[in-house]
């Protein structure tokens, strides 16, 4: 009996709670008089209506019974209910109409009631939050799995954009205006209008962003620093300065605070220009070192270890390449890659006689820079645009490409046009060698150039030198869009070999190397 009583008390208290909350929420108040069950029933009814979910209504129907049950049982036990207002009504209420049920039935009913209460409790939680119940449920679901799709790939998802906007506001970072018209295929990618000044809204005093980072961001946005190696290096230098200027505030732990400080910087850099894979890897490494490596260290030691980090990231490729370049070679290169430049210069210094054909693509025309540097090094060069690549490939013996990243499925992500070059090379049976350091290896897998890419400024396509621009008023025509891709993905069957500092590996061995690296970082 006692436990039944306690059960009932528990149940009652739950009811009370539920009614209280419903009382707060309900707009039309029902009179307290009348059947005790009614307010409770009304409350419950309101509760049901509140949730307004079809799935909950069956529960609602069964809920009527327990009230009756309690009403019935209470007077039978003659118990005095505790506390709050409405319960005495329950005690006095007797429903002589309903017959007395057997114990088993009661038990079953009680169990059912418990289930419902539990469900109600969940409902309560859901009714407590306004409107976005689905989100919380999915949020709770989402908390369990890691976030697979990064924010910058969800430009078409309004929710994700709102969240990002909020986050940026919190971090006090200016947000760029999105472009009005985008190519349909690429609506999931961000594309921003070119603005006069990114840093207009940053004030000097309240800024949470270190000036070195601000400068870096502007340099990225304007294209002053470009090329994955250069960007990564510049970023590391800037972070080095950040850490050097960093002083741990009182009562805070170094690693957590530093990490928290770096987060807004990363968002800011992301806003200026999308992070490259190399930068992403470097940041991961940095964060890892901050959180695990700097537990007990002071700031000075942190910066020292950080310098060590910088050196660890190797930037010299394998030296086997000079066996790959022989006399009388005709080498085709595309756009500007610092690594390929270094390889060619080293080969030239070793006295190997070869010629280079530099292929260039609009609108960035980075090949001109490559051409200048090669000529300065004294190498014989020719220069062509990418549409003449079939003409060039007829006399070519090798193709050297630089890479932005190497993906886990063996694809090479590089400047747009490299895949075309590799394709034509394959058809002329010319071997393609990709030069890439291992820190640019990425666990992602990608099959085409659409899913993850960067969209450049479409107005770059308009300017065609001294000729009259045909597309100068392209915005006036709704059906016209300009597409300026920055990267593209070369399938592994076009690439003969990848040259890294570990040696020559085929494209498909990327996951092996990544695994090795993970093991290394786990050990350290």
């Amino acid at each position: 009996m006692g436990d039944i009583v306690s059960d009932i008390i528990v149940l009652k208290s739950r009811q009370i709670e539920l009614c209280q909350t419903n009382w707060e929420h309900q707009k039309d108040k029902k009179p307290k008089g009348g059947k005790g069950g009614n307010p409770a029933g009304d409350c419950k009814g309101q509760g049901q209506q509140k949730t307004a979910d079809g799935s909950k209504s069956p529960r609602g129907k069964t809920e009527d019974n327990p009230t009756d049950v309690t009403n019935q049982t209470d007077p039978s036990k003659g118990q005095k209910p505790k506390g709050p207002q409405k319960t005495p009504n329950n005690g006095s209420q007797t429903d002589p109409n309903k017959p007395q049920k057997s114990k088993a039935e009661l038990k079953a009913e009680r169990r059912a009631l418990q289930e419902q209460q539990r469900a109600l409790k969940d409902q309560k939680k859901e009714t407590g939050t306004s409107g976005s119940s689905k989100d919380t449920s999915s949020a709770s679901v989402a908390k369990i799995e890691p976030k697979r799709v990064p924010d910058h790939l969800m430009a078409d998802d309004v929710q994700a954009q709102k969240k990002m906007a909020k986050k940026l506001e919190k971090q006090k970072i200016p947000q760029r205006t999105k472009v009005q018209r985008q190519v349909r295929l690429f609506e999931h990618l961000h594309q921003y209008e070119r603005e006069v000044s990114l840093t207009q809204s940053l004030s000097f005093r309240n800024s949470t962003i270190h000036p070195a980072i601000v400068r870096l961001g502007v340099q990225y946005a304007e294209g002053v620093i470009c090329g994955s190696n250069a960007r990564c290096l510049a970023m590391l230098v800037a972070f080095k300065q950040v850490i050097a200027d960093y002083a741990t505030p009182a009562h805070k732990e170094l690693s957590r605070d530093l990490e928290a400080k770096i987060k807004p910087y990363i968002s800011f850099l992301n806003q200026c220009r999308l992070m490259s894979v190399s930068m992403g890897n470097a940041i991961k490494y940095l964060k890892y070192n901050i959180s695990y490596g700097t537990r007990d260290l002071s700031e000075i030691e942190v910066s020292k270890t950080f310098e060590g980090i910088k050196i660890i990231l190797p930037l010299k490729p394998s030296c086997l390449e000079d066996k790959k370049i022989v006399d009388n070679d005709v080498i085709v290169v595309y756009a500007c890659s610092s690594l390929v430049l270094r390889v060619l210069r080293t080969a030239h210094e070793h006295g190997i006689q070869f010629r280079v054909i530099v292929i260039d693509g609009r609108p960035r025309m980075e090949g001109k820079e490559m051409l200048r540097r090669l000529v300065r090094a004294g190498i014989k060069c020719s220069y062509m645009l990418i549409n003449a690549v079939s003409y060039a490939m007829q006399e070519a013996t090798k193709v050297f490409l630089g890479a932005h990243a190497l993906l886990a499925n063996g694809c090479v992500m590089s400047r747009v046009g490299s895949s075309q070059l590799a394709l034509v090379a394959k058809s002329f049976n010319v071997s393609v060698l990709v030069c890439c350091q291992t820190y640019k290896f990425c666990e992602r897998g990608q099959t085409d150039s659409f899913v993850l890419n960067e969209l450049g400024d479409p107005d770059d396509l308009v300017n065609i030198g001294n000729k009259t621009a045909y597309l100068s008023d392209w915005r006036d025509y709704n059906s016209l869009t300009l597409l300026n891709l920055v990267y593209d993905v070369t399938p592994p069957e076009f690439v003969s070999v990848v040259i890294t500092e570990l040696g020559l590996i085929p494209c498909t061995s990327v996951p092996v190397v990544l695994r090795m690296k993970q093991v290394e970082t786990a050990e350290t």
Binding site: C381, A388, Y470, L471, L480, T481, L482, V489
Partner: protein, 316 residues
């Protein structure tokens, strides 16, 4: 005729049709001879072939009315030496008539090809095109009247005809996107068809098309996207390509557009090339759409015999 020569030499390839029309106009207006001995040296060589063919057909008009159709006849025909010094009355009239026919054919070919557009384009397609070809422009615009589709235009540096085409298509309300030449492979996976025009169709079915077409054709082959070439019959040429470095296959214009002359001292140390044409081998082409219908590239050689006399295949 030197004025003609000079001005043809000086124009960068714009509108093959324009040049052909204009030269025929001149030819008609300036014929002055009755014997077949003079012939003009024009740069549009296949046009000359056509005119020559009409000479010969007019000359032989009385004897053999039908051009040689069967392959066997072609093989067994001996070199017929005609006496070109013979004065044939009405030669001029006949030739002028034939040339007039040629002229009408030139003018109507674009419309003819455009009429077949709906057979090849279905709705909600993504079509890739390159450069500016009047034929392709007419083709796409005709299809756009009835069907809705998207067009991606490759801008084709350094002449940028693609941008002109894109503007023109956008003005007629077709959904157009301009991409640069480097992005062709990246985009190709989403393209349903590639439709290009060409400067010449070689005798083996290969193309002498605008620069960059070879890369486009290779990408299309990789993704199994059909390559459709819209070319009128007068673009057929009886020449074969033996090697890519063949004399007079490609035309190289001033490298000014590739690397500006005012770039300075680097110019003396660097070779800059600016080829105008590209060779596309016939196995990369899926279909030729011409004014007499659609053909496979393997059939082109037969069409040649209807147009040109075998003796005239080599003009020098």
């Amino acid at each position: 005729m030197d004025k003609v020569q000079v001005s043809i030499q000086n124009t960068i390839p714009a509108g093959q049709g324009d040049i052909s029309k204009w030269t025929t106009a001149r030819v008609i207006s300036q014929t002055k001879w009755t014997t077949a001995r003079g012939y003009y040296r024009l740069n549009g060589q296949h046009l000359v072939h056509e005119i020559l063919f009409h000479f010969d057909s007019a000359l032989k008009g009385s004897e053999e009315a039908d051009p040689q159709e069967s392959l066997h006849k072609l093989l067994s025909a001996e070199g017929q030496k005609e006496d070109y010094g013979q004065s044939v009355p009405n030669l001029k009239a006949t030739v002028i008539e034939a040339v007039n026919e040629l002229k009408t054919e030139l003018e109507n070919s674009a419309d003819n090809i455009a009429g077949q557009a709906l057979e090849h384009i279905h709705s909600n397609e993504v079509i890739l095109t390159a450069g500016k070809s009047k034929t392709v422009e007419a083709f796409l615009k005709k299809a756009a009247k009835k069907r809705k589709f998207q067009v991606m235009v490759v801008e084709c540096a350094p002449f940028y005809h693609g941008q002109e085409l894109a503007m023109s298509l956008a003005k007629s309300g077709i959904e157009t996107t301009v991409i640069n030449d480097a992005a062709v492979f990246a985009i190709m996976s989403r393209v349903n068809k590639v439709i290009i025009g060409t400067h010449t169709v070689m005798a083996n079915g290969g193309l002498k098309a605008i620069n960059g077409s070879h890369a486009i054709a290779l990408a299309a082959k990789h993704y199994s996207v059909p390559l459709i070439v819209c070319a009128a019959m007068f673009k057929l040429s009886p020449q074969f390509l033996c090697s890519y470095d063949q004399d007079a296959f490609n035309k190289f214009v001033s490298p000014q557009d590739v690397l500006n002359f005012s770039e300075g001292e680097i110019l003396s140390k660097v070779q800059v090339h600016n080829p105008v044409f590209d060779y596309v081998p016939p196995e990369l082409v899926t279909l030729f759409v011409s004014n007499i219908g659609g053909n496979a590239p393997s059939y082109v050689y037969r069409l040649l015999s209807e147009l040109y006399h075998p003796d005239d295949h080599d003009i020098q």
